[in-house]
Symmetry: C2
Subunit: 178 residues, 2 copies
Amino acid sequence: MNEKMSSKRSEAEQLSFIWKNIERIATCMMTTCHGPQLRARPMRGIARPNENAIVFLTARSTDKPHEIAANPNACLCFGDVSSNTFISLSGAIAVTEDTERARELWGRAQDSYFPQGPADPDAVLLTFTPKSGEYWDAPSNPVVIAIEFIRASVVGERPLLGDNAEVTMRTPLLPPDR
Amino acid sequence: MNEKMSSKRSEAEQLSFIWKNIERIATCMMTTCHGPQLRARPMRGIARPNENAIVFLTARSTDKPHEIAANPNACLCFGDVSSNTFISLSGAIAVTEDTERARELWGRAQDSYFPQGPADPDAVLLTFTPKSGEYWDAPSNPVVIAIEFIRASVVGERPLLGDNAEVTMRTPLLPPDR
């Protein structure tokens, strides 16, 4: 997808769009460095827009805490192929011990993996702090896309397919529009 | 998503599953290194299973060729939140000049961006060669998931939610099951 896009949203609206879609899509691919290689795995985190953070509960016995200790840089990719919405967040992950926060994030899924509950010694929190982000919000309706391709070709322009912006990440300036 | 999963597929079936879903999902997030930071963008490539490659047409004037020259390691993430299918491919990207191949991959979308056609000096091919891959093929039906959570909790096991495997990438051993 190399469509030339531009944004009609204000910076506050761009941040709000990113945080809203992080919460909506929920499952991301978390890419970390495994030596020189990049690898990703699906993770479902809890967005904390007011802290500019996304928090994940995971097992200490997986590869992630070791990879993060060696190199904390990470990228979270949120993608919804049906609505043609994609978000890339660049930042770093910290491995944190915080039983209180683990308790707050706890759900039925966690009970199955950590039988000792939020104080389970294998349960650990990963706190991702995004530094910069980019989103692509393209139309998913093929008729809309076709009409824009025809318009662009008639006027000799590149098609404008939706909205794209790079954003310096921070807490949202507007309440998320739900 | 920290579900403990295991695979009932043979190695040939695992490779076939990965290549089939790469073609089906089509749009991936391509993560590259921008200095120490990791960043991603949505890209729609052409899978070439028989060459163990995924090929992308892009504009030389974007950041990607520079990032790849500095560090060719990349990760492609394919995700379909509606079917709960996720794939991570680790490998490297080569920037290649191949007007013949560009011609073969050419479509209407390309015409809008590269008015001079496959020989447009701004059009460049990115060939991604996956080295290793991992997939997560989880049930998307909430009733199926709930029943497995109940079963696991009754027998004191972690729930088995679908199929997961790490695969050494190569050309598929079986024709993709379509």
